[in-house]
C-alpha cells in the first residue's frame, strides 16, 4: 500500500487532502464531520479581527455553471470571511485540534493591512494549538473593497510586508494564499518568499459573473435586483490553477517554495496532477460543497491505487515529477510530425471530425470511403492540430500517430528531421545561427 501520509512544511497529516478555507471549515461541527469522513486536514474558514464580525448577504451567495445533467462545473460566491465572533472560532479550533491531534489544522487570517491587527491576532491563534496560519490575500470580492484579501494579494510589496510581520510575531508556519487575479503569479510568490513565507497556496477564486438574468438584465446571483462580481471556483478553474502552480515551480527563484495546490480538485486524479506539478498537498472546497465530505474516500482510494500501480511509494516521491517536462513554446520540437488516424472499427460515423476539420481547420478529412459515408484522414493535409481528437465522441477512436524520423511527411513532401525548435528556425528573424 502506498504511503499517503503528508508532511507539508512540517505539518503532518494522514493524507494530502485538506479542506480549503471556506464554508466546509467554518465551524467545529463541520470540521469534526470532515475529520470523521477522512480528510487529512483543514484550513479553517478565514478569521477577521476581534469585535463585531462581518455580515453576509441574506440573499443568494452562490451562482453556478452546470452541465446538462446538472453536473456542477463552476461555482461563484460572494461570501465574505467568517461571520461568527472571533472568540467562538478560536474556542472551537482549540477543541477540535485537541481531539484530532493527527490532523492538520491551519487557521486562515485576514485583518487590515497594518502591523497592529496582525500582531494582536497571531498569539490568539497560536494559543489554540493550531498547526499554522494561512494568510488570505485572495478573496476577490467584498473584503477587497475594504483593502484586504486580493487588494493585498495584488501588491507584492504588501504581501512581503504582512508575511514578514507574521513570521516576526509568531513561531507558526506561514502559508500565503495567492489570488489568481493578477497578470504574473510569479511576482506575488516571490514577494511571499522574500517576506519569509514557509509556503504559498493557490489559487483563491477568480473574479467572475456567473450569468446574466436576461429578464431583469442583472448579473447572477442577484440580491434585490442587482449583483456584484464574485469569485469563481470548481472544476472549471483547474486548468488555470495548474498553470499557476507550474509557473511558480518552473521559476528558479521560487522552485523550492512549497506549494499547496488549490482550484477545482474534484477527484484523486486532479489531486495527482497538482502534485505532479509540484504541489506538496492539495486543498479542496467546491467538490466538498457539491458532494459532501465523503468524496475524500474516493480521493484517498484513487490516489493510493494510482501510486501502487505506478510503483510510487510516497506522495513526496511524485511531487514535481512533471515539472521538467513543462517548457516554453520555443523549446518545442518543430520537427516532430504526427498524423491523425481514425480507427474504423471504433468510428461511429457521426461526422463531427469532418465538420470541424472542413469548416474550421485544414480540410484534412474525407467524408466518403469508396463512395459511402465514412471518415478518413488525408495525411497530405493533416497538420496534426488534434481538434478532431478533441471533438470525437468516442474515446481513443482518433489517435495521433508519429511519423518516424526519416520518413516523408506527405503534407510537406519532406523527410522528418532531427529535433529543432523555433530558436534555430530559419523563419525566426532572431534565430541563433549555428556556427558554420
Amino acid at each position: 500500500m502506498a504511503d499517503l501520509t503528508s508532511n507539508f512544511i512540517g505539518i503532518k497529516s494522514p493524507n494530502p487532502f485538506w479542506l480549503a478555507s471556506a464554508p466546509p471549515t467554518d465551524k467545529e461541527y463541520n470540521v469534526r464531520r470532515a475529520f470523521e469522513a477522512g480528510w487529512g486536514g483543514v484550513v479553517w474558514k478565514t478569521l477577521g479581527e476581534a469585535g463585531p464580525p462581518v455580515v453576509n448577504v441574506n440573499g443568494p451567495r452562490y451562482g453556478a455553471i452546470h452541465g446538462a445533467d446538472r453536473r456542477l462545473l463552476g461555482l461563484n460566491n460572494i461570501e465574505l470571511i467568517t461571520d461568527r465572533p472571533l472568540e467562538v472560532n478560536l474556542r472551537e479550533i482549540k477543541s477540535v485540534k485537541r481531539d484530532y491531534p493527527d490532523r492538520a489544522v491551519v487557521v486562515s487570517l485576514m485583518v487590515p493591512c497594518e502591523e497592529d491587527p496582525w500582531k494582536k491576532i497571531l498569539p490568539l491563534v497560536e494559543e489554540t494549538g493550531a498547526d499554522g496560519v494561512e494568510l488570505n490575500f485572495g478573496c476577490p470580492h467584498g473584503m477587497a473593497e475594504r483593502g484586504m484579501g486580493s487588494a493585498v494579494g495584488q501588491v507584492p510589496e504588501y504581501i512581503e510586508m504582512v508575511t514578514r510581520w507574521c513570521k516576526q510575531f509568531s513561531r507558526m508556519p506561514v502559508i500565503v494564499k495567492l489570488t489568481p487575479n493578477i497578470t504574473d503569479i510569479r511576482l506575488p510568490a516571490e514577494a511571499a518568499m522574500r517576506g519569509g513565507a514557509d509556503a504559498v497556496s493557490l489559487i483563491n477564486t477568480i473574479n467572475s459573473i456567473t450569468s446574466v438574468n436576461l429578464d431583469l438584465f442583472a448579473p447572477e446571483p442577484m440580491i434585490d435586483g442587482v449583483g456584484a462580481h464574485g469569485g469563481y471556483c470548481g472544476p472549471a478553474v483547474k486548468p488555470i490553477a495548474l498553470n499557476m502552480v507550474a509557473e511558480i515551480k518552473r521559476n528558479a527563484a521560487t522552485a523550492d517554495l512549497p506549494v499547496s495546490g488549490i482550484g477545482g480538485v474534484t477527484t484523486w486524479r486532479d489531486a495527482a496532477e497538482f502534485i505532479a506539478l509540484g504541489a506538496g498537498n492539495v486543498q479542496v472546497c467546491t467538490a466538498a460543497m457539491t458532494y459532501g465530505f465523503d468524496v475524500v474516500k474516493e480521493m484517498i482510494s484513487g490516489l493510493s491505487q494510482w501510486m501502487d500501480e505506478g510503483g510510487h511509494e510516497s506522495v513526496a516521491s511524485v511531487v514535481g515529477r512533471a515539472i521538467p517536462n513543462c517548457r516554453d513554446w520555443q523549446d518545442l520540437n518543430l520537427n516532430y510530425v504526427t498524423k491523425a488516424l481514425i480507427d474504423q472499427e471504433a468510428c461511429i460515423k457521426c461526422g463531427r471530425c469532418y465538420a470541424v476539420c472542413e469548416d474550421t481547420s485544414h480540410q484534412a478529412i474525407f467524408n466518403r470511403i469508396d463512395g459511402v459515408r465514412g471518415f478518413e484522414v488525408n495525411d497530405a493535409e493533416c497538420v496534426a492540430c488534434n481538434l478532431c481528437v478533441n471533438v470525437c465522441p468516442v474515446e481513443e477512436c482518433i489517435t495521433m500517430v508519429e511519423t518516424p524520423l526519416g520518413e516523408v511527411d506527405p503534407r510537406t513532401g519532406e523527410k522528418v528531421r532531427e529535433y529543432a525548435n523555433w530558436q534555430t528556425h530559419p523563419n525566426n528573424p532572431g534565430a541563433v545561427k549555428a556556427a558554420e
Binding site: 452541465g67 446538462a68 445533467d69 446538472r70 461511429i348 460515423k349 457521426c350 461526422g351 463531427r352 469532418y354 465538420a355 467524408n367 459515408r373 465522441p393 468516442v394
Partner: protein, 433 residues
C-alpha cells in the same frame, strides 16, 4: 361492475373504469424539462446526420435537439413544424425504431439511440401548449384547392397550401377530421384527444375549410372538384379491408370504435381473443384487447418472426402486455367458440402447411389482414392497389394530385403521408404560380 376478464363470451366492462384509464394512458409519458435536457445532451450534432436522412419528412434533427439543449424548445418546435406540421402526432406514433432512431449513431454504437421521438414530443408539446400558431399565411393568391381526405396527408397538404396563400377546402366522409390519427392509431399513443386538438391547432393558420360527412363518389365527383377548384389532392387512405373468409370482426373497425369510446367501459371484448395478422394493426388490436381486459389474447401470424411487419419493438410491446404471439399459424376454421390453425413452415421461399393443426378457444376473432384502396375516382390510374403518382404526387389526371396511403411510394405510415402531402402542396403551388 359484474364482469371480469374470465366472464365467458364477448362482454363489456371486464375491468373497472379506473384500471381502463390507467391501461390506456400514455405509452411513453412526456419527458420532464430536466429529462429532456439530459436526453438532448446525448446528441452529437452529427454532420450530414443519418437520423435526418432516415426521417421521411427530413426534419433537421440535430438542430432541433440542440435548440432544446440550449433552453429554446419553442425554436426546436418551429424547426420540426417547418418540415412536418404533424410533428406532434409523428412524435407519438412514428416507429422511430425503424426510422430516425434506428440509424442514430448512438444506436449503432451503443444500442441506445438519442430519444429523438420523445424529444420531438417535448418540443412540439411546449409550442402547442403556448397557444397561437407558428406560421402566418402569405398574401392570398385567389386560387383554391380541394383536398379529399382529412388524414395526415390531406391535412399536411392543406396546411402548406394555406401557408402559400391558397384557399383550401377539405372534404372527408367521416364525422371527424384526422383520418387514422382519429380512428386508427392505438389509443395509448395519442391520449387526451390529441388528434382533434392537433387538427384544430393546424387549422388555426386560417384559409382552410373542413367539410366532414362529404364523400367523393357520394354527391361529390372529381369532375365537380376539377371545375370548382384550381387543383385537387386525393388523400383518401386505404378505406377498404380485405374480405374475410371466416367469422369475425375487422380489427380496424374494432379499433375505430375503441378510439371513439369515451371511457371504454362500454366496449365488448372476448374472454379468449385471437388476432389474425402480423402488422402494426394486428399488434394494436391484440394489445388493446388485452388492455380492455380479455383473459387470453393470441396473435396468430402465418409466417415466421423475421417476416413479421410489426417491428421488434412492437412485438415486444405486445408480449410485455401479455399477448401471446403464435408464429407459423394460418387460420383454417372458426367455429363454435374456437379457431383451428394450420402450422406452417417456409421451404424454398414457399409457405407450406406442415399438417399439424392447433385449436384455440376463441370467442372473438379479429382480422388484421390489410387495408385496401376504396373509392378511387374513375379515370385516375391505379396500379397494384395504389393510385399511380409521379414526381410531386401528380396523378394520371391533369390538375389532380394524390398522396398518403392511397398513393404509390413510401411506407404506409403517418409520417410518410405528411411528407407526401407537403411535397404535393409544393408541386401544386409551383403549378398554380
Amino acid at each position: 361492475m359484474l364482469n371480469t376478464p374470465t366472464t365467458p363470451g364477448i362482454v363489456a366492462g371486464r375491468l373497472p373504469a379506473n384500471i381502463l384509464a390507467e391501461n390506456f394512458s400514455d405509452l411513453h409519458p412526456p419527458l420532464t424539462a430536466h429529462e429532456a435536457l439530459v436526453a438532448a445532451d446525448r446528441c452529437y450534432f452529427c454532420y450530414g446526420a443519418p437520423c435526418m436522412e432516415a426521417c421521411p419528412t427530413t426534419i433537421d434533427i440535430p438542430l432541433f435537439i440542440r435548440q432544446i439543449a440550449t433552453g429554446t424548445p419553442e425554436a426546436a418546435a418551429r424547426t420540426i413544424f417547418s418540415q412536418n406540421i404533424l410533428g406532434g402526432m409523428c412524435a407519438r406514433v412514428c416507429p422511430t425504431e425503424t426510422l430516425c432512431e434506428e440509424v442514430c449513431v448512438r444506436e449503432v454504437a451503443e444500442g441506445k439511440p438519442v430519444l429523438i421521438g420523445q424529444l420531438q414530443r417535448y418540443a412540439t408539446d411546449r409550442l402547442m401548449a403556448a397557444g397561437g400558431h407558428p406560421f402566418a399565411r402569405a398574401t392570398e393568391t385567389g386560387k383554391s384547392v380541394a383536398v379529399v381526405g382529412a388524414g395526415p396527408a390531406g391535412l399536411s397538404c392543406a396546411h402548406r397550401l394555406a401557408m402559400k396563400g391558397h384557399n383550401v377546402t377539405i372534404y372527408d366522409g367521416r364525422a371527424k377530421a384526422g383520418g387514422l390519427n382519429e380512428y386508427g392509431i392505438a389509443a395509448y399513443k395519442s391520449v387526451d384527444g390529441f388528434a382533434q386538438s392537433e387538427v384544430e391547432w393546424l387549422l388555426s393558420i386560417g384559409g382552410i375549410t373542413v367539410e366532414t360527412g362529404k364523400r367523393l363518389g357520394d354527391g361529390l365527383s372529381l369532375s365537380g372538384l376539377k371545375s370548382g377548384f384550381d387543383a385537387a389532392f386525393l388523400a383518401i387512405g386505404l378505406g377498404g379491408v380485405n374480405a374475410l373468409s371466416m367469422d369475425g370482426v375487422n380489427a380496424v373497425d374494432m379499433i375505430a370504435d375503441l378510439r371513439q369510446s369515451a371511457d371504454r367501459t362500454d366496449l365488448a371484448v372476448g374472454r379468449n381473443v385471437v388476432v389474425i395478422g402480423g402488422g402494426m394493426t394486428a399488434v394494436d388490436a391484440a394489445v388493446q384487447s388485452k388492455l380492455l381486459g380479455a383473459d387470453n389474447v393470441t396473435m396468430a401470424y402465418r409466417r415466421d418472426k423475421a417476416a413479421m411487419a410489426a417491428s421488434e419493438f412492437e412485438q415486444d410491446l405486445a408480449t410485455s402486455r401479455g399477448v401471446r404471439i403464435l408464429y407459423n399459424a394460418a387460420p383454417k376454421l372458426v367455429d363454435d367458440g374456437a379457431i383451428t390453425l394450420a402450422r406452417t413452415e417456409t421451404r424454398d421461399g414457399k409457405l407450406l402447411e406442415t399438417g399439424e393443426v392447433v385449436e384455440l378457444p376463441a370467442d372473438q376473432v379479429l382480422w388484421a389482414i390489410g387495408q385496401t384502396l376504396e373509392g378511387a375516382p374513375d379515370g385516375v390510374a391505379v396500379e397494384g392497389g395504389k393510385i399511380v403518382v409521379g414526381d410531386g404526387g401528380r396523378t394520371s389526371v391533369d390538375g389532380v394530385w394524390a398522396g398518403g396511403d392511397c398513393a404509390q411510394g413510401g411506407d404506409d405510415l403517418t409520417v410518410t403521408a405528411v411528407a407526401e402531402g407537403r411535397d404535393a402542396a409544393e408541386d401544386i403551388h409551383a403549378k398554380l404560380a
